[in-house]
């Protein structure tokens, strides 16, 4: 029993801790190489993420979309689907959601907010379902299609908002000089939950989403279905599970979460949409889902970590004047050590657990769907 306890302590506390430390250490090397003082840099990063005025609130603001995006991708991974398309689904979700948001008027917020949210999620669902449908019925590899759909989604949003050939887009706000949609109706804006900050109700939505997604995956028959398909399509099919249907459904739900991220950003922050609303979220989302080992609960700390890094980066640059890309180096070195506990075990010369394979994307490559 004691040895079990010790093992548990090591694997669940010491190793992750050591991983983060190791990650920051490697990041420090890069900071030095970039000609800055790591202590000053990390100090500023921390202050900018947590201790400055409103910093923690801002960190949470950045965390919200990460949580929703991370959940979406994690869910896909569990079904063996590598949904690279989060960014595109983010765009479409924001687009459909904002359309409803500025089209409805004067209804109470407990109607308008859900309406806009659902519209956004529906948009994301539909967009992701395209890739799912193509995979299920033509075998088209979702990595290709979802990458391509990202570009298409951006261009759709861009066309509807920016317009083309000098003509304004159909969704552009009248009499504003910048290409953006009208503001959503007052009742559709997510209320601020920390006065004086930008932290909005989206945080609660994200926090609710985590247990919901966990429950969906681990406790419902739908979740069982998608895990079964993720592990072994042949057996799933023989057990009467429709693999094709499951793939479309899973891609859809995954996309709905990405879409939710998009519309929540709009309803909570800018209240209107531009064609760069999703810029920069796509790959962070993948990294977060992977860091979380595709586990919904894991998404929470992973998203918080990324939110803190994202948010602290500004102040770190103000203090050090090193390129904002520095944060990517820190992110990467953190992921390496967190995703590969084996390395840390090996560094710490811990022989208890053998190197275990950490298979996060349960992709079953060999059997195509039919």
């Amino acid at each position: 029993m004691r040895r079990f306890r010790a093992g548990w302590l090591v694997s669940s506390l010491l190793v992750p801790l050591a991983s983060v430390v190791a990650g920051f250490l490697v990041g420090a090397l890069a900071i030095v190489a970039a000609g800055a003082d790591p202590l000053q840099a990390y100090g500023a990063l921390f202050a900018g993420a947590f201790t400055n005025r409103n910093a923690f609130a801002e960190t949470l603001v950045s965390t919200v979309p990460y949580v929703l995006l991370g959940l979406g991708l994690a869910l896909g991974f569990r079904a063996g689907l590598f949904n690279i398309g989060a960014e595109g689904q983010f765009y479409i979700g924001a687009l459909t959601g904002v359309f409803v948001g500025y089209s409805i008027h004067g209804l109470p917020l407990f109607i308008e907010i859900p309406a806009a949210l659902l519209a956004g999620m529906a948009g994301g669902f539909a967009w992701a379902a395209i890739a799912g449908f193509l995979k299920a019925w033509t075998g088209a590899h979702e990595v290709i299609t979802s990458i391509m759909l990202n570009y298409v989604a951006f261009l759709v949003a861009n066309y509807l908002i920016d317009g083309a050939n000098g003509k304004p887009g159909v969704m552009v706000a009248p009499n504003v000089s910048t290409p953006r949609t009208p503001d959503v109706d007052l009742g559709a804006m997510l209320p601020i939950i920390v006065p004086g900050s930008r932290l909005h109700l989206g945080l609660l939505l994200a926090l609710i989403a985590v247990p919901l997604v966990w429950f969906l995956i681990e406790r419902t028959t739908v979740g069982f279905r998608l895990r079964a398909v993720g592990f072994n399509q042949g057996t799933a099919r023989a057990a009467g599970i429709s693999v094709a249907q499951t793939i479309v459904l899973t891609m859809g739900i995954s996309g709905a979460l990405a879409g939710a991220a998009g519309i929540v950003q709009v309803l909570g922050l800018s209240h209107h949409m531009t064609d760069t609303v999703a810029a920069g979220y796509g790959f962070d989302a993948i990294a977060i889902a992977l860091l979380a080992r595709s586990n919904p609960w894991g998404v929470l700390p992973a998203a918080l970590l990324f939110g803190a890094l994202h948010n602290g980066a500004g102040f770190m640059q103000l203090e050090t004047q090193v390129s904002s890309d520095l944060i990517s180096i820190v992110q990467a070195s953190l992921i390496i050590f967190v995703a590969a506990p084996a390395i840390v075990r090996w560094l710490l010369r811990l022989r208890e657990q053998p190197v275990e394979t950490v298979q996060i994307t349960q992709r079953e490559v060999e059997t195509p769907v039919g």
């Binding site: 570009y151 910048t178 800018s270 609303v277």
Partner: protein, 324 residues
């Protein structure tokens, strides 16, 4: 790297000036970069006592936050770049009347007294460069490799350039291409730009106008590689691209750095001007760059023509025909 320090000891008060870029970041080789040049210029000018810093925005939700970061650090002035920051800048200016704001390439209908919108008549240098191109082209075909059509300054340059070329050479056949919107590659797809230049050259073009950050620069590289002439943009690119020197006939200059430095100077000297500040040929906010290596190859009469056009544009007796 960075722009910390630089203030001389004689300063009674140090003015802290922060710049917030749009998601194009400083490496856009365009207005974010030029604005930063202006900020650095102000900083290294000992008479101004300026300490500058920049924050690059990585996603559009950062705009308001990054401005706020400077405000929390009690900065005296904040320079923002591009229409994408229009809303965030206005709101911050209204909430912080004690802090001065300047936004590049953007105007408002009404301004608070602490906000200035710096705009530039890109059509004028575009027209002049086009006029020169019209005179120098032997094939009567010229090409423009441009950035996003949704960014007004780009369109002003292109239209000015084409009108100028037609003005001096009615037979000229201008070809232009705007970079398709792509998000990640906006203003930053030099290889694409280069291939477009090659396409134009395949159509007989002998002068390429690169107008669109690194995408346009790709066009210049293509022209240089094929031994054709090229026209730079925004700054005197002859100085920034030593390896392309032999192709530059001139650059259509938009002196964002001057604009930014002037705005900062106004703050320091207590001569702050709010509202729309337009820079044009009259106040040297825009200019036609030097001919450099082509100086000898351009006939006196041509130079005279250009001078004449310039004066006409200044006194308004000639219009570029571009409606901003």
């Amino acid at each position: 790297g960075g722009t910390t320090g630089g203030t001389s000891s004689s300063c009674s008060k140090t003015f802290k000036v922060g710049q917030v870029t749009d998601i194009g970041k400083l490496s856009d080789k365009s207005f974010n970069f030029d604005a930063n040049v202006g900020l650095k210029a102000a900083q290294s000018d000992p008479s101004l006592c300026v300490k500058g810093a920049v924050i690059e925005s990585t996603s559009e939700d950062d705009y308001a936050k990054n401005i706020q970061t400077f405000l929390d650090q009690k900065y005296d002035m904040i320079v923002t770049v591009g229409f994408k920051l229009g809303d965030a800048t206005l709101k911050a200016a209204q909430d912080n009347p004690g802090v001065k704001f300047a936004i590049v390439d953007y105007t408002y209908k009404t301004y608070p007294s602490n906000l200035a919108g710096l705009v530039f008549s890109e059509d004028q240098p575009g027209f002049l460069a086009g006029a020169l191109a019209g005179l120098l082209t032997k094939t009567n075909v010229i090409g423009e490799v441009a950035g996003l059509e949704s960014v007004p300054p780009v369109v002003h340059y292109v239209q000015g350039f084409e009108n100028g070329a037609k003005f001096t050479n009615p037979k000229v056949h201008p070809l232009h291409i705007y970079q398709p919107e792509s998000g990640a590659k906006d203003f930053n797809d030099p290889d694409w730009g280069k291939q477009q230049a090659l396409t134009f050259i395949g159509q007989g073009a002998d002068i390429i106008f690169g107008v669109g950050g690194n995408t346009g620069n790709g066009g210049l590289i293509g022209a240089n590689e094929q031994g054709k002439m090229c026209v730079g943009v925004d700054v005197d690119q002859y100085l920034f691209f030593p390896e392309l020197r032999r192709c530059f006939i001139t650059s259509a200059e938009k002196l964002v750095h001057n604009g930014v430095k002037t705005a900062i100077t106004n703050l320091v000297k207590g001569t702050w001007v709010s509202g729309t500040v337009s820079y044009n040929l009259k106040n040297n906010g825009v200019a036609l760059g030097p001919y450099h290596d082509f100086d000898s190859k351009i006939s006196a009469s041509s130079k005279a023509k250009i001078k004449d056009i310039m004066t006409k544009l200044k006194d308004g007796s000639l219009s570029t025909g571009v409606t901003a």
